[in-house]
Symmetry: C2
C-alpha cells in the first residue's frame, strides 16, 4: 500500500475511533490509562530491546551524545512514562461538564458542554516519551490521536503505540484511538496535513524548522509556538534582591527551554544599583551578557549587543540586557521583539503591575515570579501537551481543557420562535 | 498604488490600530459606538445617496428584485443599524475580565484574562448592514477589523466605513480600527488571506462558494459554516402536539436561513399518529415533502426521496422526512448527514434526552425546542457575528466573547522554580 493510502486509512480509522472514545465514561478511560501504565512496566524489556535498535541506528548516523541521551528509553524513563499516565488518570475529566447556564425569558435553559475536539495529529521530534504523554492526554480528553515521531525513534514509538493499541483493544475500545504512522518520510506528514475532513487539530512539537514546515503545509488548524523570546523587566520600584533571584532563576535554572529568560530590561534608575551584583552572579554561572551601550559601561565584561540580539532565542547561557528609561519603553521593546510567549515584571508598584498584566500581549504575563513558570504543571493544569503562542483556541500552556471545545446545549419545553 | 500594496498597508495599519483599541476602556468604546449610531442617523441622506449609486449599478447588472431589496439602505435600515450599535454598547465588555483563579502550593495566583484577538478580517456578500454590525462587535471586543463587502454594495460600504473612521478619529482613536477594502476584485481577498502576520482570524459570511474560496486560499485561521442541514427527531415518547408545533416552526417560520429544519426523523411507533396531521399542516403551508418509502405510504402526496435529499440544505419550503426504528438510527443518520449545525429531539424520556444532548456532535443540540433558536440573540449572547461549525475556538453562534481569547496572568511575590 502506498504511503498516501496508509495515512488516508489511518485518518479515516481515527475519525471512526474518535466517535467511540468521545462517549466513553471517565472511569473507563482512567482504567485504560492505568492499564497502559502497568503494561509499559511489564513490557519494559521488550521496549528497551526495540529502543536498542533505534540507538544502534543513531550511533551509525553519528548523532551527538546529547541526542542519543534524549532517545534512550531506560527503566527509569519507562517508570516516568507510566507515572505520567497515572497522573493523567487522576486529573478531572473535562468532557461532558456543563458551564454556567442562562435562563432565557421564554424559559429556554442554555449552557455550554465541554466536548472532545475529535482527532488530533501530533508531529514531534526524537524523544519517545512524547508518544506516551501525548497519547495519554488526548485519550483522557476523549480524542483519537495520530502520532508521527522522529525517524530516529521509529522502533521505540512503534513498540509504545503497539502496547497502547493492544490495551485499548483488550478493553473493548478501538485500537485506532492511538495510532503511530509507520513510516518516517516527510511525504507522510504532508498527506496527514491535508486530511482536514478527518483531523481537527495539528500540534507540532520540535524545532522551528519542523514547525514552519507544518504550518506551511497544513490545511488543518495548527497550535504551536515557534520560539520563546522571554523578557524580564526590572522596574524602578523593584525589590532588587527579588529581581536578582527571579532573573537568575529564569536564565540559569534550565537555559535550553522555551520559557527561559532571553532579554533583561532594567529601569535606568536601578541600573547602577542592580546590574553590578546581577552581572557578577550571571558571569560566575557562565552567562555571557550582550548589553546595550549603557549596560556595557556599567558591566565592562559585557559584550556589545547588536540588533540581532534583541529578537534572539539563545537557548543557552547568553543574555541580552538593555537599560530603559521607563516601563513604557520596556513595553514597546517587548511589543517589538517578544514572541508572545512569557514576560515578567519585577515591581512593587500597584499601578504598573496592573498595567503590565493588562497590556503585555503574551500567553503568560507574570508579576514578581520567574518566566520558568510558563508550564502546564506549574500553572496547575496538571499536564500539558505544549504551549501555544497562537491566539485562537488556546494561548499559553495547553492542558486537558485545551484539548476539548464546547457546544451549546439547550433544554426547552416546547418553545418555538416568533 | 497596486491592490496588493494597498491591502498590505491596510493590514499593517490594522495591526497598529489593534494595539490601541485593545487597551481602550469600555466607557470609551461605548461612547464611540453611540456616537457612530447618532452620526449614521444624522448622515442618512448622504448614505442613501451613496446607496443609490449601488442600486443603479445593480439594476444595470440586472440583479433580481430580491437582491436589490437586500441591497437597499432605507431610513428604516439606517435606524436599525444605529439601534444595533446602541445594543452592542450596552452589552457587557468581556475584555480584561479575570476567570476563576487558582492558588498554587507556592502561593502563585494563576488566572486567565480575556483579551481581544487582535485583527479580524470579515469577507461578506451584499447586505451593507453587515458592515455596521461586524464593525460594532469587533470594536466592542477591542479588535481592529478589515472588511471586504460585495462589489454590489461598494459605495454604501465605503460611505458607512468613512463615517465610522471619522467618528473614531474625532474621538482620538485610530481611524484604522475599522477599514473597508476600497476595491472589489478577488485578488484583494487573496492578498488579505495571506497576511497571517497582521491578521489573526478570518470570518467569511455568505454562500458556500465564497466560503470555500476563503478556506482554500487562507493562511489565517477561518471560522465558518458551509451550511445548515438541521434535523428534528420525534422520539417515541414525544408529546405529538409539541412535536408538530416545533417542527412546523423550524421549517416554515423562515425557511431561507441556516437554522431552518431540513430533515425530519420520526420514530416508527409514532409515524401513523404523527405524520398525517403534521403532513397536512406542512402541505397547507406549501411545504413539499420528500419522504422515505414508509413516509410516502403514510403520506400519499409526498414525493419519494432519493439519496441526494438526505444531505440537502433546501433553504426553501421543502422537507426530507424519514421514519426510523429508534433513536440509535436517528443519531446515526444525523452523524452521517448533518452539517454539525443544529439538531433537536422532541421527547419526554429523561434518559434519551440526556443521551441526545451528550452524543450528538453539533454546535447547538436542543431538547424540545425549535432549531430556529441557534442564533446569538436567541441564546443570550446579545448579538452574533456568525455561526461556526468548526470546532476550534468557537463552535456555534459567535458573540463578543468568541471575538476574544484568554492569556494567563500570574501574580507572585518572588517565586522561583526549583
Amino acid at each position: 500500500m502506498s504511503i498516501e493510502s496508509t495515512v488516508l486509512n489511518m485518518a479515516k480509522a481515527a475519525r471512526a475511533a474518535a466517535k467511540e472514545i468521545a462517549r466513553c465514561s471517565s472511569d473507563r478511560k482512567n482504567t485504560v490509562l492505568i492499564k497502559i501504565a502497568d503494561t509499559l512496566e511489564q513490557k519494559a524489556s521488550f521496549i528497551r530491546e526495540e529502543n536498542r535498535k533505534d540507538l544502534i541506528g543513531a550511533r551509525e548516523k553519528g548523532l551527538s551524545n546529547a541526542m542519543i541521551d534524549r532517545l534512550t528509553v531506560s527503566d527509569a524513563v519507562i517508570k516516568s512514562m507510566a507515572d505520567g499516565l497515572r497522573e493523567v488518570a487522576v486529573l478531572e475529566d473535562p468532557v461532558g461538564a456543563l458551564g454556567r447556564s442562562r435562563i432565557r425569558p421564554n424559559g429556554l435553559q442554555v449552557s455550554k458542554m465541554r466536548i472532545p475536539l475529535g482527532v488530533i495529529g501530533i508531529i514531534y521530534e526524537s524523544r519517545p516519551n512524547v508518544t506516551i504523554d501525548a497519547a495519554g492526554l488526548c485519550l483522557k480528553a476523549g480524542n483519537a490521536v495520530i502520532l508521527r515521531g522522529g525517524s530516529e525513534a521509529f522502533h521505540s514509538n512503534q513498540a509504545l503505540a503497539g502496547i497502547i493499541s493492544d490495551v485499548l483493544s483488550a478493553s473493548g475500545l478501538p485500537g485506532d484511538v492511538v495510532q503511530v504512522i509507520p513510516v518516517t518520510d516527510r511525504d507522510a506528514v504532508k498527506t496527514l496535513l491535508a486530511q482536514e475532513e478527518c483531523i481537527d487539530l495539528i500540534i507540532p512539537r520540535g524545532g522551528e524548522g519542523l514547525i514552519r514546515f507544518v504550518v506551511e503545509n497544513s490545511k488543518i488548524p495548527v497550535l504551536k509556538h515557534y520560539k520563546g523570546v522571554c523578557h524580564a523587566y526590572v522596574d524602578e520600584s523593584a525589590n532588587l534582591q527579588m529581581a536578582e533571584d527571579i532573573c537568575f532563576n529564569a536564565k540559569v535554572q534550565r537555559p535550553g527551554v522555551c520559557n527561559a529568560l532571553e532579554t533583561l530590561l532594567v529601569n535606568a534608575s536601578e541600573a547602577e544599583a542592580f546590574l553590578p551584583r546581577m552581572g557578577e552572579r550571571f558571569m560566575k554561572a557562565g552567562v555571557e551578557i550582550r548589553g546595550c551601550a549603557e549596560t556595557c559601561r556599567i558591566l565592562p565584561d559585557a559584550v556589545a549587543a547588536d540588533e540581532s540580539d534583541w529578537p534572539a532565542e539563545y537557548l543557552d547561557l547568553v543574555l541580552a540586557v538593555k537599560i530603559v528609561t521607563d516601563m513604557e519603553e520596556a513595553m514597546s521593546h517587548i511589543s517589538r521583539y517578544s514572541s508572545n510567549h512569557t514576560e515578567t515584571i519585577i515591581t512593587s508598584d500597584y499601578h504598573r503591575a496592573r498595567r503590565f498584566l493588562r497590556e503585555v500581549d503574551s500567553s503568560v504575563v507574570i508579576v514578581n515570579a520567574s518566566t520558568r513558570f510558563n508550564d502546564g504543571g506549574q500553572l496547575g493544569l496538571g499536564a500539558e501537551i505544549g504551549i501555544s503562542t497562537s491566539k485562537l483556541h488556546a494561548f499559553g500552556p495547553m492542558g486537558l481543557e485545551e484539548l476539548t471545545t464546547t457546544k451549546f446545549v439547550v433544554m426547552g419545553d416546547g418553545q418555538i420562535r416568533n
